[in-house]
Amino acid sequence: MTIPQEWLALEKDATLDAKGLMCPMPIVQLAKKVKELKSGQVLELIADDVGAKDDVPAWCNRTGHQLVGQEEEGKVFRFYIRIK
Protein backbone atom coordinates (compact mmCIF):
# COMPACT_ATOMS: atom_id res chain seq x y z
CA MET A 1 0.00 0.00 0.00
CA THR A 2 1.36 3.42 -0.87
CA ILE A 3 0.76 6.32 1.41
CA PRO A 4 -0.63 9.33 -0.50
CA GLN A 5 2.03 11.94 -1.16
CA GLU A 6 0.08 14.78 0.46
CA TRP A 7 -0.09 12.83 3.71
CA LEU A 8 3.66 12.31 3.76
CA ALA A 9 4.30 15.95 2.97
CA LEU A 10 2.19 16.89 5.99
CA GLU A 11 3.92 14.37 8.21
CA LYS A 12 7.51 15.35 7.46
CA ASP A 13 9.64 16.53 10.36
CA ALA A 14 12.50 17.95 8.33
CA THR A 15 13.49 18.75 4.77
CA LEU A 16 16.87 18.42 3.13
CA ASP A 17 17.16 20.32 -0.12
CA ALA A 18 19.97 18.69 -2.10
CA LYS A 19 19.07 20.30 -5.42
CA GLY A 20 22.14 21.20 -7.45
CA LEU A 21 24.32 18.63 -5.68
CA MET A 22 25.86 15.85 -7.74
CA CYS A 23 26.51 12.23 -6.78
CA PRO A 24 27.51 11.34 -4.09
CA MET A 25 26.87 14.63 -2.28
CA PRO A 26 23.10 14.15 -1.79
CA ILE A 27 23.83 10.80 -0.07
CA VAL A 28 26.64 12.23 2.06
CA GLN A 29 24.41 15.14 3.15
CA LEU A 30 21.51 12.72 3.74
CA ALA A 31 23.61 10.51 6.04
CA LYS A 32 24.67 13.62 7.98
CA LYS A 33 21.12 14.94 8.29
CA VAL A 34 19.69 11.62 9.45
CA LYS A 35 22.00 11.69 12.48
CA GLU A 36 20.23 14.85 13.67
CA LEU A 37 16.82 13.19 13.60
CA LYS A 38 15.07 10.84 16.00
CA SER A 39 13.71 7.38 15.31
CA GLY A 40 10.27 7.48 13.66
CA GLN A 41 10.67 10.99 12.24
CA VAL A 42 10.16 11.53 8.53
CA LEU A 43 12.72 13.36 6.42
CA GLU A 44 11.87 14.84 3.05
CA LEU A 45 14.80 14.82 0.64
CA ILE A 46 14.70 16.87 -2.55
CA ALA A 47 17.32 16.15 -5.21
CA ASP A 48 17.80 16.70 -8.92
CA ASP A 49 20.82 14.48 -9.54
CA VAL A 50 19.70 11.74 -11.97
CA GLY A 51 21.58 9.14 -9.92
CA ALA A 52 19.56 9.96 -6.81
CA LYS A 53 16.56 8.11 -8.22
CA ASP A 54 18.22 4.76 -7.51
CA ASP A 55 20.87 5.94 -5.03
CA VAL A 56 18.43 6.93 -2.32
CA PRO A 57 16.45 3.64 -2.36
CA ALA A 58 19.79 1.75 -2.33
CA TRP A 59 21.00 3.84 0.61
CA CYS A 60 17.76 3.13 2.51
CA ASN A 61 18.02 -0.57 1.75
CA ARG A 62 21.60 -0.63 3.03
CA THR A 63 21.13 1.49 6.15
CA GLY A 64 17.73 0.17 7.21
CA HIS A 65 15.90 3.50 7.11
CA GLN A 66 12.50 3.14 5.51
CA LEU A 67 11.68 4.79 2.20
CA VAL A 68 7.98 5.49 2.64
CA GLY A 69 7.45 7.53 -0.48
CA GLN A 70 9.09 8.68 -3.68
CA GLU A 71 7.86 11.12 -6.26
CA GLU A 72 9.18 12.59 -9.48
CA GLU A 73 8.26 16.03 -10.73
CA GLY A 74 10.04 16.89 -13.94
CA LYS A 75 13.74 16.67 -13.08
CA VAL A 76 13.19 16.90 -9.35
CA PHE A 77 12.91 13.88 -7.07
CA ARG A 78 11.28 13.89 -3.67
CA PHE A 79 11.90 11.13 -1.16
CA TYR A 80 10.26 10.55 2.20
CA ILE A 81 12.38 8.58 4.61
CA ARG A 82 11.29 7.31 8.02
CA ILE A 83 14.24 7.15 10.38
CA LYS A 84 14.81 3.70 11.90
Partner: protein, 134 residues
Protein backbone atom coordinates in the same frame (compact mmCIF):
# COMPACT_ATOMS: atom_id res chain seq x y z
CA UNK B 1 29.02 -5.23 12.63
CA UNK B 2 29.37 -2.80 9.75
CA UNK B 3 30.22 -4.14 6.30
CA UNK B 4 33.81 -3.52 5.33
CA UNK B 5 34.83 -1.91 2.04
CA UNK B 6 38.48 -1.98 0.96
CA UNK B 7 40.23 -0.19 -1.89
CA UNK B 8 43.77 -0.25 -3.25
CA UNK B 9 44.98 2.90 -5.04
CA UNK B 10 48.11 2.51 -7.15
CA UNK B 11 48.08 5.67 -9.27
CA UNK B 12 48.45 9.29 -8.19
CA UNK B 13 46.61 11.22 -10.89
CA UNK B 14 43.62 13.48 -10.25
CA UNK B 15 41.02 10.92 -11.35
CA UNK B 16 42.59 8.18 -9.24
CA UNK B 17 42.69 10.62 -6.33
CA UNK B 18 39.01 11.51 -6.57
CA UNK B 19 37.61 8.03 -7.22
CA UNK B 20 38.43 6.44 -3.85
CA UNK B 21 37.17 9.57 -2.08
CA UNK B 22 33.87 9.57 -3.98
CA UNK B 23 33.40 5.83 -3.43
CA UNK B 24 34.74 5.91 0.11
CA UNK B 25 32.63 8.86 1.25
CA UNK B 26 29.54 7.26 -0.27
CA UNK B 27 30.26 3.91 1.37
CA UNK B 28 30.89 5.57 4.74
CA UNK B 29 27.60 7.44 4.34
CA UNK B 30 25.92 4.08 3.72
CA UNK B 31 27.22 2.89 7.05
CA UNK B 32 30.16 0.89 5.75
CA UNK B 33 33.61 0.76 7.32
CA UNK B 34 36.04 2.03 4.66
CA UNK B 35 39.74 1.19 4.30
CA UNK B 36 41.89 2.67 1.54
CA UNK B 37 45.41 1.40 0.93
CA UNK B 38 47.73 3.68 -1.09
CA UNK B 39 50.65 2.07 -2.86
CA UNK B 40 53.22 2.86 -5.61
CA UNK B 41 52.30 6.12 -7.39
CA UNK B 42 49.14 6.30 -5.32
CA UNK B 43 51.24 6.89 -2.22
CA UNK B 44 52.01 10.49 -3.13
CA UNK B 45 48.32 11.29 -2.69
CA UNK B 46 48.78 10.83 1.04
CA UNK B 47 51.48 13.50 1.23
CA UNK B 48 50.53 16.84 2.76
CA UNK B 49 49.57 19.63 0.37
CA UNK B 50 49.48 17.51 -2.79
CA UNK B 51 47.59 18.88 -5.81
CA UNK B 52 47.03 15.91 -8.13
CA UNK B 53 46.97 16.44 -11.91
CA UNK B 54 45.09 14.60 -14.66
CA UNK B 55 47.12 11.78 -16.22
CA UNK B 56 49.33 12.01 -19.34
CA UNK B 57 48.46 14.58 -21.95
CA UNK B 58 45.34 15.53 -20.02
CA UNK B 59 47.60 17.05 -17.40
CA UNK B 60 47.28 20.53 -18.91
CA UNK B 61 43.49 20.26 -18.61
CA UNK B 62 43.53 19.84 -14.83
CA UNK B 63 42.75 23.51 -14.16
CA UNK B 64 39.82 23.39 -16.57
CA UNK B 65 38.45 20.27 -14.86
CA UNK B 66 38.70 21.92 -11.44
CA UNK B 67 37.02 25.04 -12.81
CA UNK B 68 34.15 22.96 -14.22
CA UNK B 69 33.73 21.14 -10.93
CA UNK B 70 33.57 24.46 -9.08
CA UNK B 71 30.96 25.70 -11.54
CA UNK B 72 28.59 22.85 -10.70
CA UNK B 73 29.40 23.23 -7.00
CA UNK B 74 31.22 19.91 -6.79
CA UNK B 75 33.63 19.67 -3.85
CA UNK B 76 37.31 19.84 -4.72
CA UNK B 77 39.99 17.35 -3.76
CA UNK B 78 40.85 19.00 -0.43
CA UNK B 79 37.21 19.25 0.55
CA UNK B 80 36.56 15.60 -0.33
CA UNK B 81 39.58 14.61 1.75
CA UNK B 82 38.27 16.61 4.69
CA UNK B 83 34.86 15.00 4.29
CA UNK B 84 36.46 11.53 4.21
CA UNK B 85 38.21 12.29 7.51
CA UNK B 86 34.94 13.43 9.08
CA UNK B 87 33.20 10.27 7.87
CA UNK B 88 35.91 8.12 9.43
CA UNK B 89 37.43 6.73 6.22
CA UNK B 90 40.71 4.96 7.08
CA UNK B 91 43.81 5.80 5.03
CA UNK B 92 46.83 3.53 4.89
CA UNK B 93 50.26 4.04 3.36
CA UNK B 94 52.08 1.00 2.00
CA UNK B 95 55.24 0.56 4.04
CA UNK B 96 57.30 -0.78 1.10
CA UNK B 97 56.21 2.03 -1.22
CA UNK B 98 57.26 4.53 1.43
CA UNK B 99 60.75 3.11 1.43
CA UNK B 100 60.92 2.88 -2.39
CA UNK B 101 59.59 6.38 -2.98
CA UNK B 102 61.51 7.98 -0.14
CA UNK B 103 58.40 9.12 1.73
CA UNK B 104 58.76 9.72 5.46
CA UNK B 105 55.98 9.22 7.98
CA UNK B 106 56.15 12.94 8.78
CA UNK B 107 55.31 13.72 5.10
CA UNK B 108 51.96 11.95 5.39
CA UNK B 109 48.55 13.46 6.07
CA UNK B 110 47.47 13.41 9.67
CA UNK B 111 45.67 10.24 10.67
CA UNK B 112 47.34 8.08 8.01
CA UNK B 113 48.54 4.70 9.21
CA UNK B 114 51.53 2.91 7.76
CA UNK B 115 50.58 -0.67 6.94
CA UNK B 116 52.08 -3.80 5.42
CA UNK B 117 50.32 -5.94 2.83
CA UNK B 118 49.40 -8.68 5.30
CA UNK B 119 47.47 -6.44 7.62
CA UNK B 120 45.64 -4.87 4.72
CA UNK B 121 44.80 -8.29 3.25
CA UNK B 122 43.57 -9.30 6.66
CA UNK B 123 41.08 -6.40 6.44
CA UNK B 124 40.29 -7.14 2.78
CA UNK B 125 39.61 -10.81 3.47
CA UNK B 126 36.80 -9.75 5.81
CA UNK B 127 35.38 -7.24 3.33
CA UNK B 128 32.27 -7.75 1.27
CA UNK B 129 33.55 -5.35 -1.36
CA UNK B 130 37.08 -4.67 -2.60
CA UNK B 131 38.10 -2.40 -5.46
CA UNK B 132 41.39 -1.78 -7.17
CA UNK B 133 41.90 1.79 -8.41
CA UNK B 134 44.88 1.94 -10.73
Amino acid sequence: MADKFCMVVSEGSFDKAMMPLIMGNTAASMGMEVHVFYTFFGLKLLKKGVKPKLPGLWRIGTGMMIKKMKKVNYPGYDEMLKQAKELGVNFYACSTSMALMGVKESDLLEGTKVLGASKFLDLAADSKTTLFIG
